[in-house]
Amino acid sequence: MLFEVVGAEGPKRFFGRLTKETIAHAYLFTGPPGVGKKTFARRLAQSLLCEAPKEHVLGYDGTCTSCKLIGKEETRHPDLLESVGALKIGEADEPMAFHEADAITSRDLVRQLSLQSYSGGFRIFVLGDIDFASPAAANALLKFFEEPPPRVVLLLTTATPSRLLSTIRSRLVEVRFPSLRQSEVIEILREKGYDQKKAQLGAALSQGSATRALAALSDDEEQLRDQVADWFFEVVKGATPEEGWASRETLDEGLEIVKTLMRDWIVLRSEGVAAGSALAVDYEPKLKKLPKIDAASAIGALTKIGEAQRLAGTNVSPALVSEFVRMSLPTP
């Protein structure tokens, strides 16, 4: 039996014990963005629909008709309906053709949910980023979530469960997805065709999210990282860097890079605190060469960077914000 999802140990074990009889009618997958919630939902749906006989729900053979209809990216299975993002309530009498309407609405769903399965098994609905559903759309599904028709399984995903109606949340079984481990991110990146070195760097910057790792390895971001880091090391050496990095688009991200470097400096080189390893692995050797730092100026700098982050949210000129940070960084 196959189940091609990297990571998600807890959810795997959780569903690994359930059978077609004990599976509940609706699950809510929560966890940080980019840890594989939607992928898991798709593969779970495939498992439930797979025709191969098996004891527990998890796993599929990949060769039956059902599995062939569910592709890597797009699905053509008539008993699997996927919808991602802003769900609207929809018009009362709007007709909907399965897999043809460009936007699925709550009313479509309610109608679809009461239909019989095509292949005689489950009917599965994967609703991604359900927190983007309009309140009316979400409310219209409430009573259904409470007492659904048989043989229907709903798989909802969200990165911010706090934005859901609490009445919805309490009707679903919540399954938490942990952040990915570094090794798991490396595995995913390798699958995507990155070499080991790149994959390691991406994993270190990923914060446990595959989406983030991919973004971090994009050319734009890598360039900004180098630019900000060069600037940072110039400043703490006491020099005045010639080239700034701050613009409206790069400000938030740049400040975060500065904060990470500052944090790493404290973790690696301060009296009394020194513990753990750097978050910015690619700069670790350079950070280790920095002078020792005392707690007072470190905390002072962190506080100021925090303030700069708040300023960045207001209408302050990016150049001024970066200047403010430059002056608050400790110099020899």
């Binding site: 990571g7 140990e9 807890g10 074990r13 959780f14 014990r17 359930l18 004990t22 509940a24 929560t30 966890g31 940080p32 309610v110 009316a136 409310n139 219209a140 409430l142 009573k143 007492e147 609490s166 009445t167 949340r169 309490s170 009707r171 679903l172 079984v173 919540e174 399954v175 938490r176 997805f177 942990p178 952040s179 990915l180 481990r181 914060q207 446990g208 938030d252 975060e256 904060k259 990470t260 944090r263 404290i266 973790v267 605190v273 020194a274 513990a275 753990g276 978050l279 005392d294 707690a295 007072a296 470190a298 905390i299 002072g300 962190l302 506080t303 925090g306 982050q309 708040r310 949210g313």
Partner: protein
């Protein structure tokens, strides 16, 4: 069929955690004072729909109206199976428009088919459209004598005021943790689910006041576990809640151990804990500490007894200003995370700032440090404050770092008492906060034989302290290692002397009060 549907309470006696609502409803029913419209409001999983279903049976039971429907007569059986023609449960979220309400209004007129009354249960009432709600108004105000409406909603503030004023309102409360644990224990026993106490409380915390959430989780945990359900199973089934890590982090932060903080965060991150959840967890923990400092009894609703006790213990290690500062820093971190930041980085830097408060130049941090000095509480790493209470010969456990150390042997002099006075005060205030004002005005004056003379500016203050002399004597004995009797003396010239206003804010307040009256 899920547990929460199987175990929907069938009588008011089974409806847990809503004593006030149940009492009012039962006495209204037994005295025959039924209203024609009810509004049940309260958070999810608190029992609104269940109460509405019970109330419907109270009204239409063959032996009714009675607060204890028998659930066996034909009417009750029909209602329990959802086939009663005269009890209509309407989902207002999908039947929310004016047309649906018009249909309802037309149908209300007809007399019930077999039962005494027609009962309309309108669930999710807040989702009625404006037009729908308005079309409903006249019917709701003066329905035919055979109709009763029960509206249930989680968001009563979304209903128009004109609806609210036509209904009798019952506010349902969140289910308290201990009540929830008891109910789950009962159900688990009946369903033959083996579960231990730690798992029960782990589920109860996650449920966050909603009994339905708790039962859903109980059921899933039971399907998941091989044998007995314990806290580890719950963690595995529903992901780490971060509570364990939040507690660990809290202890490291209180102990002013920045390296320990970083290590714990690293471990949590390795275990795949969502850092944003962890930040929220820390906020909850600090909030508990704050409540523990203000009034420990309030914690009973939110925490299991053992956890409440631990929170009270921890809260003694921090001043109120320190806790408030931590909360503010964490709230800032959370808002930064929401807009862009890296949750782990924010949590780390926040806790570094908190633990290294001594180095933090902001006003906030300084205020927190002042509060520590005022209280005379020790900076925790120096002296583990959890040491067992001193016996007669044991050295003082709360040797104050701020004041000069107190010798444990040798004769007790008034200087020694004065330098230790702050810690004696802290100790007494720890026992009884209300004595703060009196103590702030008390001055140890002299040692006479084995008695300590304490000077006070007026007789009222002296009286209050005299009533608590035993406690003060105990504190003196504990701090100085030598028992002394406490004698209180009223300062003779206090009335006339134009003393400089005291510095301590509490004392200043009573000083002002005295002069005003």
């Amino acid at each position: 069929m899920s547990l929460y549907r199987d175990w929907r309470p069938k009588s008011f006696a089974d409806l847990v955690g809503q004593e006030a609502v149940v009492r009012t409803l039962t006495s209204a029913i037994s005295s025959g004072k039924l209203a024609h419209a009810y509004l049940f409001s309260g958070p999810r999983g608190s029992g609104k729909t269940s109460a509405a279903k019970i109330l419907a049976r109270c009204i239409d039971c063959v032996n009714g109206p009675t607060p204890t429907p028998d659930n066996t007569c034909e009417n009750c059986v029909a209602m329990l199976s959802g086939t009663a023609l005269d009890v209509l449960e309407i989902d207002a979220a999908s039947n929310r428009g004016i047309d649906e309400i018009r249909a309802l209004r037309d149908a209300v007129k007809f007399a019930p088919s077999s039962m005494r009354m027609k009962v309309y249960i309108i669930d999710e009432a807040h989702m009625l459209t404006k037009e729908g709600a308005n079309a409903f108004l006249k019917t709701l105000e003066e329905p035919p004598p055979h109709a009763v409406f029960i509206l249930a909603t989680t968001e009563p503030e979304k209903l128009p005021l004109t609806i609210l004023s036509r209904c009798q309102r019952y506010a349902f409360r969140r289910i308290a943790i201990p009540v929830m644990i008891e109910r789950m224990r009962e159900i688990a026993a009946a369903e033959k689910i083996a579960i231990d106490d730690s798992a029960l409380s782990a589920i109860a915390y996650r449920a966050d006041g909603g009994l339905r959430d708790a039962l859903t989780m109980l059921e899933q945990a039971a399907a998941f576990a091989d044998g007995k359900i314990d806290a580890a199973t719950v963690e595995l089934a529903f992901g780490a809640s971060g509570r364990t890590y939040a507690r660990g982090l809290l202890d490291r932060a209180i102990a002013r151990d920045p390296a320990g903080v970083l290590k714990t965060i690293d471990e949590a991150s390795d275990a795949g804990t969502d850092m944003q959840v962890l930040i929220r967890g820390m906020i909850a923990e600090f909030r508990n500490l704050l409540v523990a400092r203000i009034d420990p009894e309030l914690l009973a609703r939110d925490l299991a007894p053992a956890d409440a006790q631990a929170a009270v213990g921890r809260s003694k290690e921090l001043t109120q200003a320190q806790i408030v500062r931590a909360l503010r820093l964490l709230a800032e971190a959370l808002s930064t995370v929401r807009s862009s930041g890296n949750p782990r980085l924010e949590l780390e830097t926040t806790l570094l700032r908190f633990t290294l408060a001594a180095e933090d130049p902001t006003l906030d941090a300084i205020a927190a440090r002042v509060s520590v000095l005022e209280q005379g509480a020790p900076p925790p790493p120096a002296a583990p404050a959890k040491a067992a209470p001193a016996k007669a010969e044991a050295p003082p456990p709360r040797a104050q770092a701020a004041v000069e150390p107190v010798a444990t042997n040798g004769p007790v002099t008034i200087q020694k008492v004065r330098s230790a006075w702050q810690s004696i005060r802290t100790r007494v205030e720890g026992e009884r906060q209300s004595l703060r004002t009196q103590l702030s005005r008390a001055v140890p004056e002299a040692i006479e034989g084995n008695a300590l003379v304490i000077k006070l500016p007026n007789a009222v203050l002296a009286e209050t302290l005299k009533d608590n002399a035993k406690m003060i004597e105990d504190a003196i004995a504990e701090v100085l290692g030598t028992p002394l009797r406490a004698r209180f003396k009223v300062e003779a010239s206090a009335k006339n002397a134009v003393a400089a206003p005291p510095e301590d804010p509490d004392a200043l307040l009573s000083y002002i009060n005295e002069r005003m009256t």
